[in-house]
């Protein structure tokens, strides 16, 4: 896949510069188009999730009662044709009729008539609807039965539509991504720490300690995983952070096996023997020599574990066991979308696309890393 000339880098002076294994792996990774595309997608989704909710004009929890389940659209709400209806709803209780209505850009001029004198405080009932601001009475008829007011319409964009409570779906999708990604990374980190420590210890000490430690892993493997997770849910209540620390604490089994296998193959090498001969302690050998050398497969497994955890979180949230309101995650959004699929399909499609894209990207990057770090395996 890579030609020889790509690998030969000549430095001024004509010497051939040596290349480390990591540099080789990096070059292989960069030439893997799927992996690079995956990494770019991940970066975009990550940045959007991190900064999107801050930049969005809508707050995550902000409810627009007049825009419940409005479809995704690139034009602003309210549409010109919807303004009369909005005003009618706002003035429903005022016992005044709209006699004329004039929309000019963002400026609306409205004339009301009623059989009794109109209270000027009527502006408040219009203002209570968040779509209208700066409501001013510009003219009142002498008998007070008719009144003209002017107001500004707030235009809002809902690029992904809104959900069943009238909240902006774009903001919520990005915010949900923040939670989903954070949970994925957090749980993976926990499982990394436990798995690497456990696996490296078992593999390095070997013998009876190793077989007992791995037996424990075997037994934990055979427990239905869902059972574990649901019990953890029960223990940790609705605290998602603790919960996913706990999920990480369950997901370390594969990691421990991988690291143990690697350790077994490394510990017979000469440099470990040399370290022993120099009187380096066991902990130091594990930390300084064993763990860094198991890094390749561990990194690969990590990139594949993150989507697994995100999926798990979504699955739990889908069942109503995971993230709770007012927090949200892709799983929660997908579950809400699935419940409203007939009348509001966009509620499913957007969060599902984000989730699927992320999973795809992680898988591509993971596959790319595996090919790059372990060329034998192809």
């Amino acid at each position: 896949m890579t030609t020889v000339s790509q690998f030969e880098q000549t430095v001024p002076g004509g010497e051939i510069k040596g290349r480390s294994l990591w540099a080789d792996a990096w070059a292989r990774l960069r030439s893997n188009r799927a992996a690079v595309a995956g990494a770019i997608v991940l970066a975009i989704i990550g940045l959007a999730s991190l900064f999107g909710p801050m930049l969005s004009p809508h707050d995550v929890g902000q409810v627009y009662r007049s825009y419940i389940k409005v479809p995704a659209s690139t034009t602003a709400y309210p549409r010109e044709a919807e303004i009369p209806d909005l005003l009618k709803t706002a003035l429903r209780r005022s016992r005044a009729d709209i006699t004329s209505l004039d929309v000019d850009g963002d400026l609306v001029t409205l004339t009301l008539t009623a059989e009794r004198e109109i209270d000027p405080r009527i502006t408040r009932s219009v203002e209570r609807n968040a779509d209208f601001t700066n409501v001013q009475i510009i003219e009142t008829s002498p008998d007070g039965l008719s009144l003209t007011m002017q107001m500004e319409v707030t235009r809002s964009y809902f690029l992904f539509g809104t959900d069943a409570n009238g909240r902006d779906l774009l903001t919520r999708t990005l915010f949900g991504g923040r939670i989903s990604l954070m949970i994925g990374l957090l749980a993976t980190f926990v499982s990394l720490i436990i798995g690497v420590t456990y696996g490296a210890t078992a593999g390095f000490i070997g013998g009876r300690v190793d077989s007992v430690m791995m037996r424990i892993v075997d037994v934990l493997y055979s427990i239905p995983f869902m059972f574990f997770v649901i019990l953890l849910m029960v223990f940790f209540g609705r605290n998602i952070i603790l919960m996913f620390v706990a999920v990480g604490a369950v997901e370390w089994l594969d990691m421990a096996r991988i690291v143990r296998g690697q350790t077994l193959s490394i510990k017979r090498r000469e440099f470990i023997e040399a370290a022993h001969a120099c009187g380096v302690s066991t902990t130091a050998i594990i930390r300084r020599h064993i763990v860094p050398n198991t890094l390749g497969p561990v990194v690969v497994y990590m990139t594949l574990l993150v989507p697994k955890v995100i999926l798990l979180e979504s699955f739990l949230s889908f069942l109503g066991l995971g993230v709770q309101e007012p927090m949200t995650s892709w799983g929660v959004l997908i579950s809400e979308g699935a419940n409203n699929i007939v009348e509001a399909p966009w509620m499913l499609i957007f969060p599902a696309t984000f989730l699927a894209l992320t999973l795809f990207a992680f898988n591509f990057v993971g596959d790319g890393l595996r090919d790059a770090l372990d060329p034998k395996d192809r």
Binding site: V219, I223, L231, L319, A338, I341, L348, F360
Partner: protein, 307 residues
């Protein structure tokens, strides 16, 4: 082979025992109990209820009683669904789950096997890439997204199939859940078959078969496929155990009365006996299917010996 199977089944007893013990004590550690309601029951009623279900005894005694009943094949009464025993509840859900799971596995094996072999034969051609791209989609999109999407497309937009509901088990109502259940499996099987088929096609036995002048149909169908299915079998073993014992997501979305939901419901309601019953059921399925995998290996691969 029979002796081997019997030995394996007996060998699984300690594992199952450990699973039972861990599950038993873990669910008891969870706060709340089957009778803790929003409005607490009067103390004396609570005491009577706990006495009936032995919940007032020390935990170790409860465990001993449970094991004694279990050895006699008695999974005990459900603590939440009054008048029903755990065996009855599982007995009503399991046939449904087995039906759905079985159909999905069959579909996965046939469609996935055919697609995977086809892709392997056309390696690095356009049709290979497209099959693998579709498989990638099938693997990455989780079933709780796929199922509503199928509902949307086949049910709402095209109106071919009912969106949900059980419909007293009518065939039309079963199609969508089975497809949703099978799709990810089809994708995995296709990928596995392709990978191993490509390797098998390069081996000496296949070269020999071709050199003998056997028609390609027989080379692939009889010789190559047999060897290529080995990794598929070892994947499908645990997968089948999981599918046959029901999928929570699919059952929830389509309103299928299977076993999958029992477990989650049981855990949430602290229905101790029901949770234990489903855990034991799942553990037994896993043990049996792992054994089946090893036995099928012997049929597919003459190099495997049981001793």
């Amino acid at each position: 082979m029979l002796a081997y199977a019997v030995r394996r089944l007996f060998g699984a007893i300690p594992t199952i025992f450990v699973i039972i013990a861990i599950s038993f004590f873990m669910i008891r550690l969870a706060p709340g109990g089957p009778f803790s309601l929003e409005r607490p029951l009067p103390a004396n009623i609570m005491r009577n209820l706990e006495a009936i279900y032995h919940l007032d005894k020390p935990l170790m005694v409860q465990f001993w009683i449970y094991l004694q009943n279990l050895v006699q094949g008695n999974l005990g009464p459900s603590m939440v669904y009054r008048d029903l025993s755990v065996a009855e509840i599982i007995g009503s859900g399991l046939p449904v789950s087995i039906q759905f799971g079985g159909a999905a596995i069959l579909l996965a094996l046939v469609v996935g096997g055919v697609l995977g072999s086809y892709a392997a034969l056309k390696q690095n051609q356009m049709s290979d890439y497209s099959v693998m791209a579709i498989a990638m989609v099938g693997i990455t999109i989780p079933n709780f997204v796929m199922a509503p999407l199928l509902q949307l497309i086949l049910g709402v937009e095209l109106g071919w199939l009912p969106v949900g509901g059980w419909g007293e088990g009518a065939f039309r109502n079963k199609v969508l859940p089975v497809i949703a259940l099978a799709l990810p499996q089809v994708a995995v099987v296709a990928r596995l078959t392709r990978g191993s088929m490509i390797e098998v096609l390069r081996t000496n036995p296949i070269r020999t078969a071709r050199a003998k002048g056997l028609p390609e149909r027989i080379v692939i169908g009889r010789h190559a496929l047999r060897a290529a299915l080995l990794p598929v079998v070892s994947y499908l073993g645990p997968a089948a155990a999981a599918l046959l014992t029901g999928s929570v997501v699919i059952e929830t979305i389509f309103g299928v009365p299977g076993v999958g939901r029992l477990f989650v419901q049981g855990a949430l309601n602290r229905d101790y006996t029901l949770v234990m019953g489903t855990v034991i059921l799942i553990a037994c399925f896993i043990v049996i299917f792992n054994l089946l995998v090893d036995l099928i290996y012997g049929v597919l691969d003459p190099k495997v010996r049981y001793d």
